[in-house]
Amino acid sequence: MGNAQPRRLALGAVGVVGALALAGCSGGGDAADGGELSIYIDSNPSSIALWDGLVAGYAEVNPDVTIEVETHPAGGEGDNLIKTRLSTGDMNDMFWYNSGSLLMALGPDKQLVSLSDEEWAADLDDNFVQAVSTEEGLYGVPVGASFAGAMVYNKDIYAELGLEVPTTWDEFMANAEAVTDAGLVGVVQSFGDAWTSQVPVLGDFFNVTADNPDWADEYTAGEAKFVDEPAVAGFQHLQDIHDAGVLNEDFASATYDDAVRMLAEGEAAHYPMLTGNVAEALGANYPDADASIGVFPIPGADSASNGLTVWMPNGVYVPKTTEGEQLEATKEFLTWLATPESCAIQADSTTLGGPFVVAGCELPDNAPALVHDMQAYFDEGRTSLALEFLSAIKGPSLEQITVEVGSGIRSADDGAALYDQDVVKQAQQLGLDW
């Protein structure tokens, strides 16, 4: 009896090691079984809902192929899982991931299958093509809709107080103060979720390019800096909002969900946020508030140049480890993803935060009201891609810096200078010689 215990433990250990070794081999290589594809996505509930819809939709069109969905945590942890799988050759047949600088950090030329020759490549929006291409090829098909980093506002409060949509920053501040004077929250911030603090800086990028169209290239070359005009304005806006006393009193601890609730229930007038996220949260929790919520671009100094800073949807990418029959089946699926049929399923499975980027995909009638507000800017061409799609350089500490500036811990100039230091690290990591 006394001896049995250690031996069973030892056997167990052998079993575990064996299982690990097997698991290590199985990830990407089930090429023999063409009837099954697997995809790696993030584990946000809305992402899972979106892919459940798409998988079910494809099963109707092509019943021979089943698609298995595997999830990873969103954010930095997910980035590292993707990198680890790619570098060890264990990636699924395809994966769904950010376009722009995060995609470029994966080294697409070395890691991914080029899709430039696929028929659907011509149907994609130019902005999206730019966000998933290098000089050597195009690597992704879009799934999801574009969205904007902008000022989401409560139209009921605007109507009640007789306010008009502002086109300059000064007008905006006047509106925010009018709302605060009326006993409501002028601007809501939610530093309990630190990432939300970046939107005033990132969403200001249209105003930066309006002032200097070459800013992104100069920034990549290490010449343009955030501490100088026009880019410092984003940091200045954060400080202005804090100093004017128009913030919610719990701005330091409020979470993203708290902020959306305040906006939807008419407690707060403005929230600088990504429209995709807000649309999702409204669709899931406050469907009745849909008509009350609108969106306008983060205003700059000049009312003549007023436009939206736009983010591109995630793409589906195919690693080079997917080969043969498996690759053929995957490409067939990607072709289907770029059809209006797939767009319609996407619109049903999630709440859209902006227009699609595939030709022939129209906004459905039931799209949220705030998306219709955005459509005008798209139609008039008053949009600019966000900086992360134009330059591979994004500093890792932006959210901490914007929290400090937005909470009055650090001044705008100081914060912008600190961020300039922060991006140097990214430039070094990319091997750029600044």
Partner: protein
């Protein structure tokens, strides 16, 4: 007694087989093959990763490719704007929690070794927080300490005190986390002290009683000096824990608001998260050296003083 019986035996062995013991220099009673499994385990899981981390700290490493860049990572790491703050916070945090655990642990241990009701139960109550997952504690306290909806500030509000933003006030966040760390870790310190105090022979107390010593004298001249090994253990364990603390800070403030409660470990973690693998490895090498540079002399000093007395 035991040494007396063992010593002659060994001498017998040596005199019987002098050649073999000479070849093994008389130190190890085991043949070489006996060490091989442990040696392989140690090499593969400890020596190689440590050596690899020293190498990777000298490279630009994206997981896809590695480029040797000399000491650039260390230069960059020491230029990190959050570094000074990180080090300051790390030291404040480590010394504060360590000191509080020594004082509170000793006080609790004296209470829990005295004749009180339900002693066994109370001892386990003090130890419970040690058993709970750190992240679980962090999340729970984040909810309790919410400046507006949290239970702590609501209770304070009932008696007319406007509680501060425990985790959102930049001047307070680090101390709040340190307090929670002490709450969680003091049980272990108490346990070590209880073992130390219980091991003190009763004769000392009886002799002191005969001499008419007060309770204070008992504490000052018997418990404090004779529980010294326990103090050394508590100081070293909690200081090492404090210097490399990360999980509680990360789950409660994420180093925030902004960078105000960043410690070295969270600075390094954020670099890792951002994909700067070479840079964060360099940071870990620095952290390793700093911890070693503090703990080794301290441990040497404490132990030497212990054996002197």
């Amino acid at each position: 007694m035991t040494t007396a019986t063992l010593a002659p035996k060994r001498r017998d062995l040596k005199t019987e087989r002098p050649q073999r013991s000479q070849r093994r220099r008389g130190t190890s009673p085991y043949p070489l093959w006996f060490h091989i499994p442990a040696g392989v385990f140690f090499l593969v899981l400890f020596i190689i990763p440590t050596a690899a981390s020293f190498y990777f700290s000298l490279t630009r490493w994206t997981l896809f490719d590695v480029e040797f860049i000399g000491l650039d990572n260390f230069v960059q790491f020491f230029r990190e704007p959050a570094l000074v703050r990180g080090f300051t916070n790390t030291f404040i945090y480590a010394f504060l929690t360590s000191a509080a655990k020594v004082v509170l642990g000793l006080m609790l241990a004296i209470l829990l070794t005295s004749q009180i009701i339900a002693r066994g139960f109370l001892r386990s109550v003090v130890f419970f927080p040690v058993l709970v997952s750190t992240v679980g504690i962090g999340v729970t306290f984040t909810v309790l300490l919410d400046p507006f909806d949290g239970m702590v500030n609501q209770l304070l509000g009932m008696v007319g005190i406007a509680g501060p933003g425990w985790l959102t006030d930049p001047n307070l966040a680090l101390y709040t986390v340190a307090f929670v760390d002490v709450w969680k870790g003091v049980g272990l310190a108490t346990l070590i002290y209880i073992a130390g105090i219980v091991a003190i022979p009763q004769e000392y107390f009886e002799a002191a009683k005969v001499d008419g010593a007060s309770a204070w004298h008992n504490f000052r001249f018997i418990i404090l000096p004779l529980a010294r090994p326990a103090t050394v253990t508590v100081v070293i364990l909690s200081l090492i824990g404090g210097l490399r603390s990360f999980d509680l800070i990360w789950s409660m403030t994420g180093g925030g608001p902004g960078f105000t409660s960043d410690v070295i470990a969270s600075v390094i973690y954020k670099q890792y998260q951002a994909g700067f693998f070479g840079l964060s490895t360099a940071g870990n090498v620095v952290l390793f050296l700093v911890v070693a540079a503090i703990i080794l002399p301290l441990s040497y000093w404490l132990n030497r003083k212990g054996s002197e007395s």
